[in-house]
Subunit: 357 residues, 2 copies
């Protein structure tokens, strides 16, 4: 839907605004950094869920994209993206069939951290025209999925290598926050073990945005998978990865109540900002009101404490908020508004929103 | 979409299951309680967002429904619901026009807690064929929207009463958790002041599910607005309002990884369970694994600590989880699966999902 030159101030709230100039600057800055250091980028599209931005990331030099769900991969393949990495254990007949269908039309690389996942993949791809490339997920400190040691990575790589229909491609990890150095050491040990065993990993895939500007320090990695960098958010600003001026995604909201001198209630609650804190105090940054603290959210209301704010917004005033975590906000809205300066230039559906499986 | 007799175990995960027998039992138990105590029910449909359940609530005796957004009201009016309460300050020309359009076709009652909201409503409805009924929102301890004292409620009621196009209808509140007695005292004081001033409130609207079984103690209230009671959730169980056996909404998920002896990773993260804790430890109850603790969520992964679990689920096993807060889960899924016993009898779109404004 083209809604030429609607001003941001005329948008119904709550709504998501995406500043196209900031998107382009964030993408270029990151691609320039990657190019300067010989790091390949494989952006995670979970942040934006929009084919146009996936295509732009590739135009600028990304080697492909990362998705977290088969449903996201299907949307992106439909949109013409041809190189997709799925860092997730795919289990069960129905999902394996969908993976096989994707494999027939694009380059898709899968992931495993257990013999069970490898067995399902092999049973599905044993008769395929081309083998499925499989990465071994490594738990380098995050405490989520992943094999627990370089030795275990080697064992699983051997299993993949010996499984009909599969080809061992390499190692992947998502480092714990701030533990990029430990993760790099882990991966280097894994690479050494694998290489000694004749299973040299072709790809070593690292991530994400919190460690973005350290990506080049993990010399063992061949690619990096940042997601949030396209929009940035309050968490990344607090971690020193970006500034509020870099943040391309904002939620525009209206002050619907000022029940007391120091309290403002906005029409953005957890259905707009999400209840993700990521360890931060408050639920977002109110632009123009740096001392305002979003202290609590119910589904449709946000409560702002203005106790230490020198300026206090009025009922009916529209505020723009940088959320703590932009990726989850993209998943809550059916559409986002693309802006240039103060104009909304286009309102677009979030094509890969709500792809739960 | 009718998917006759698909077994729950064949559902792709993550997915939402709604047990129809439990829904019916929850609705009937609550309506019976309300009838026995002469309390009118005006259920909040934010929990289910499904026209069929709104109709069923009214069939069983509810006097109307409550919605939190104009978009929800529009969906419900389209589905034939004719008595809707919107406990939200509506501001701005576009939203006021939508409110006026709803007012022309159904009985819709609005809310204000400020002269600014009253002014906007009056400007919109001054020429209307029938006046808009407006409730005064009262902050009885919740610390969200609402006038701050019974005296302030009287002042705003006078303003509404004197505003062209508007008719003062009564008082509404959402009590703070556990403060139903304080809320009832506040409302009784407000009623006394209003009555003495010749503005006797026709309706006094109270809520929600946490105080459900105390609704009859607030003798001043004329109606109660529970939402969660249709599904119940872990928060309500922890508060003693229901049992896990009453919980009609579950998220079915698959164990995708067992990286260590005491860790399971499931394919339900914050995009399925939400990061709402509501003050609880963990992100939901794993049915059949009462000692399992969902310790953290990322968007597509949930991490379960099995340290004190006697049984531990296997990779590929499907688990059913009662989420902390079922209302927000309804907003995350495009469809829900209606079940009877072990069968999925119908998969239906969540019609009022994602109605952000």
């Amino acid at each position: 839907m083209d809604v030429n030159a609607v001003n941001i101030s005329d948008i119904e709230t709550p709504a998501v605004l995406i500043d196209l100039d900031k998107v382009e600057a964030n993408l270029k800055r990151t691609q320039d950094y990657a190019d300067a250091h010989g790091v390949k980028l494989r952006p995670h599209i979970k942040t934006h869920k929009l084919p146009r931005f996936a295509r732009r990331q590739i135009e600028l030099g990304a080697v492909g994209i990362t998705v977290q769900k088969l449903g996201e991969a299907e949307v992106m393949a439909d949109a013409g993206i041809t190189d997709i990495f799925l860092p997730y254990n795919i289990l069960g007949e129905a999902k394996l069939k969908r993976l096989a269908a994707l494999h027939r039309r694009v380059t898709i690389r899968a992931t495993a951290d257990s013999p069970e996942t490898v067995a399902g993949l092999s049973a599905t791809f044993a008769g395929a025209q081309k083998p499925l490339e499989v990465m071994v997920e490594c738990d380098t400190g995050m405490g989520r999925c992943g094999v627990q040691s370089p030795q275990a990575a080697l064992e699983l790589a051997k299993l993949i290598d010996g499984s009909p229909g599969l080809s061992f491609a390499g190692l992947m990890t998502y480092p714990a926050a701030g533990q990029y150095a430990e993760a790099a050491r882990w991966l280097a040990q894994g690479k050494a073990l694998l290489t000694a065993a004749g299973l040299s990993p072709r790809i070593i895939s690292n991530g994400g945005t919190p460690d973005l500007w350290h990506a080049h320090e993990a010399v063992v990695a061949t690619e990096h998978r940042p997601g949030t960098y396209i929009y940035m958010d309050r968490y990344q600003v607090e971690k020193g990865v970006a500034t509020f001026d870099d943040c391309a995604l904002t939620v525009v909201t209206t002050v619907v109540s000022r029940p007391t001198e120091n309290r403002a209630i906005i029409d953005a609650g957890s259905k707009a900002l999400t209840s993700d804190t990521l360890g931060l105090t408050g639920y977002g940054r109110v632009l123009g009101y740096p001392e305002a603290v979003i202290t609590s959210l119910s589904e449709e209301h946000g409560t702002i404490d203005l106790s230490v704010s020198t300026r206090k917004p009025a009922i009916g005033e529209k505020l723009r908020i940088v959320p703590n975590h932009c990726c989850v906000v993209s998943n809550l809205f059916d559409v986002v508004n693309l802006t240039q300066g103060e104009d909304v230039v286009e309102t677009v559906p979030v094509a890969a929103r709500g792809r739960v499986d």
